[in-house]
């Protein structure tokens, strides 16, 4: 569970210098600090170059769990892994979970994370009943509806240090997931996106839906997954401990377009050989396939990677998703692990929350060089033109101009930012505005 380095984000590839402090040690640092959880953010929202990182890993205790109402109270450094295990033993589970359980509750709120059930459940922030926020000049308990609460959910840590949280969990029948898979993408790229959207639309009874797409393939072929909770096996209540680890960094010459094509092709063939349309599996495997390998970020080499995630509004989705992905492919950008998913229209309480009703796509780009970065800048413009946005929690490269187009409400967060809190991300994207 240890991050490779406390100074880097999960996407690596950047060098930053920090002073390290611990949440719980009083007083708060008196200049430029940033709360930091388990450092799983891909980009520089969890980096504060030249300043202080305020680590929450000693503040990771569970405080109380009401097993009749499903409300769990914990310190903000508690990991979703710990909460999920305790909850599951009592017939509850996380209402929303990202693709790794090794994140803190504080981080999940600060980035207002979403999961495969966004259409049904919305974002993580919707389940926060209350939170305690420590700012340089005050400590207060915030509830949904408070202006500072809205700024803190998806506030990227900038409003202060979240200390305690009360979170509403959901009832589940057990630790199993019934999963169905279906291949899509037999005609062309546009038809492929249509096919995916139709599969999703026909999955109303399935809370979890997601598609894997081969962004290196001209037809944008892919695999559609949908899942629902089921009882499963009692032995599934405990996750299989993480024993696999990547001992070395992947050498850079292996991370080229040809290898991305080969990797994606191999994955697609493996899926197409799997003829069982429906299976039951432990929910750990369904939600967190990559958690089985610790330090999997080393697979992308020393120079790190960018995880590019954008969302485009519903009306524009089918054309612009196709256009943007075709643009990335024809620019010869090597992308792995493409993921496509629709967001529903359940509103988040977070002022700066990323999801909007529409379609979101995520691709991993290893060791991006000048050419890849230019291609991503063009993709940003295509996203902005249809009124979409790019996910700050995963970003390390978007321009300040683009950020402000994606999030015109950023000034409201700036107004409520704790004056002593800052991050490399915030300085970068607000640099030529009125921000610090």
């Amino acid at each position: 569970m240890n991050p490779l380095s406390l100074d880097q984000p999960w996407g690596r590839g950047s060098a930053a210098v920090h002073k390290h402090h611990f949440a719980g040690d009083t007083p708060l640092p008196d200049s430029s600090w940033l709360p930091r959880g388990l450092g799983r953010s891909y980009g520089d929202v969890c980096v504060n170059d030249g300043g202080t990182l305020l680590h929450t890993f000693r503040q990771d205790r569970l405080i109380a769990f009401d097993t009749t109402t499903g409300v769990i109270e914990c310190e903000a450094g508690a990991s979703l892994a710990d909460i999920a295990e305790v909850a599951l033993r009592n017939g509850w589970f996380l209402p929303v979970t990202p693709g790794t359980r090794f994140v803190t509750v504080g981080g999940a709120i600060a980035n207002d994370v979403h999961g495969k059930n966004h259409q049904h459940a919305g974002t993580f922030g919707r389940y926060v009943r209350s939170l305690t926020l420590r700012r340089s000049d005050s400590v207060s308990e915030l509830k949904p509806g408070d202006a500072l609460f809205s700024a803190t959910v998806a506030g990227m840590g900038l409003t202060g240090l979240i200390e305690r949280v009360r979170l509403q969990l959901i009832r589940v029948p057990g630790a199993g997931i019934v999963q169905q898979t279906k291949l899509f993408g037999r005609a062309d790229a546009l038809a492929s996106v249509d096919e995916f959207l139709a599969l999703e639309a026909a999955s109303g009874d399935w809370p979890y839906t997601v598609g894997w797409i081969d962004t290196m393939h001209h037809r944008l072929r892919g695999v559609f997954f949908r899942g629902n909770h089921c009882r499963g096996d009692l032995a599934w209540h405990k996750p299989v401990p993480t024993t696999l680890a990547l001992p070395i960094d992947m050498p850079g010459w292996l991370l080229r377009p040809w290898s991305a094509k080969a990797f994606n092709g191999a994955y697609f063939r493996a899926q197409s050989m799997n003829t069982a349309m429906q299976s039951e599996l432990p929910l750990w495997q369904f939600f967190y396939p990559l958690d089985a390998v610790s330090a999997w970020n080393r697979a992308y080499g020393k120079r790190g990677f960018v995880q590019y995630q954008f969302v485009v509004p519903k009306a524009a989705a089918r054309e612009s998703v196709t256009q943007i992905l075709t643009h990335l492919r024809t620019s010869n950008v090597a992308s792995y692990l493409g993921v496509i998913k629709s967001f529903g229209d359940i509103r988040s309480p977070g002022l700066m929350s990323f999801p909007m009703p529409g379609v979101t796509v995520t691709v991993d780009i290893a060791a991006p060089a000048e050419r890849e970065l230019r291609a991503l800048d063009r993709a940003d413009a295509m996203v902005a033109d249809v009124g979409g946005r790019v996910y700050p929690a995963k970003d390390s490269r978007m321009s300040s101009v683009m950020f402000k187009r994606f999030f015109p409400q950023w000034r409201e967060l700036e107004a409520l930012r704790d004056c002593n809190v800052s991050s490399s991300f915030w300085r970068r994207v607000t640099s030529d505005g009125s921000g610090k």
């Binding site: 569970m1 240890n2 380095s5 406390l6 100074d7 390290h20 611990f22 680590h55 890993f57 000693r58 205790r61 569970l62 405080i63 109380a64 769990f65 769990i72 310190e75 710990d82 295990e85 305790v86 033993r89």
Partner: protein, 241 residues
């Protein structure tokens, strides 16, 4: 089972409590910081512990240990985890500091081990796990005072094990190497020698279950210390590590 933890706020102890809590045991926790102990107790309850009692006090005091153990009910497992990383340079010039550190790291830990072992012997047996250190295997330049106290503790446990095994009490000496605790977070580039508190805690629990005598955690430290112990003193005195 009833589990007693001395020095419950230490990172390794907290990790061990979390692992044990899921197995539905009862705990008595001793430590110095009352509010931290309460948080750890709440955490253990949420994770499945049946009953958790906390006692905040001067655990480095032998008198405190005597009273505490006298009031204990049947105990099956005890983990003695308190300690203080002595600053060698300060111990060089401040012998009051040196003596009080040796009291924390050796005298008080040995007293708890002795008292708890006696208590278990009269209440149907049990296991006492004592956290010593690889530092106790040989006095080194960089931690002579800490190493000496841990050497004393390891020796005490070895003798205590011999005196207690026929009375049904198992004594486990735990010798961890570098532990990646929050206190050590300033070392941001840690090599392969560093282990997490979770890994150390798992090793301790395994050692108790398998009734081991001495465990180096992680295991490779046994090899390193074997080498360290065989360096001739004439050379060893020139080494600054």
């Amino acid at each position: 089972m009833n589990i007693v933890i001395v020095g419950a706020t230490s990172a390794v102890a907290q990790s061990a409590i979390r692992i044990w809590a899921a197995g539905q045991h009862s705990f008595v926790l001793y430590g110095r910081n009352a509010s931290e102990l309460e948080k750890i107790a709440a955490d253990a309850r949420v994770r499945g512990a049946i009953e958790v009692t906390v006692h905040a006090g001067d655990i480095a005091s032998v008198t405190y240990a005597q009273t505490a153990v006298a009031n204990l009910s049947t105990t099956h497992i005890a983990l003695i985890a308190h300690g203080s990383l002595t600053l060698s340079d300060r111990a060089d010039t401040d012998t009051d500091y040196m003596a009080s550190e040796i009291n924390v790291n050796f005298t008080s830990a040995a007293a708890w081990a002795q008292l708890l072992a006696n208590h278990m012997a009269t209440h149907g047996g049990g296991s006492v796990a004592v956290i010593s250190s690889v530092a106790g295997d040989r006095g080194r330049y960089s931690n002579h005072a800490y190493g000496a106290a841990k050497a004393g503790l390891s020796a005490y446990c070895s003798g205590l094990r011999a005196r207690m095994w026929r009375r049904g009490v198992h004594v486990l000496t735990v010798k961890p190497g570098f532990i990646d605790t929050p206190m050590m977070a300033h070392v941001t580039k840690k090599g392969v020698l560093w282990a997490t508190p979770e890994a150390i805690a798992q090793g301790i629990i395994r050692g108790i279950e398998r009734k081991r005598n001495v465990v180096y955690l992680p295991k490779f430290w046994a090899l390193i210390l074997l080498a360290v112990k065989h360096v001739p003193e004439s050379i060893f005195k020139r080494l600054k590590f």
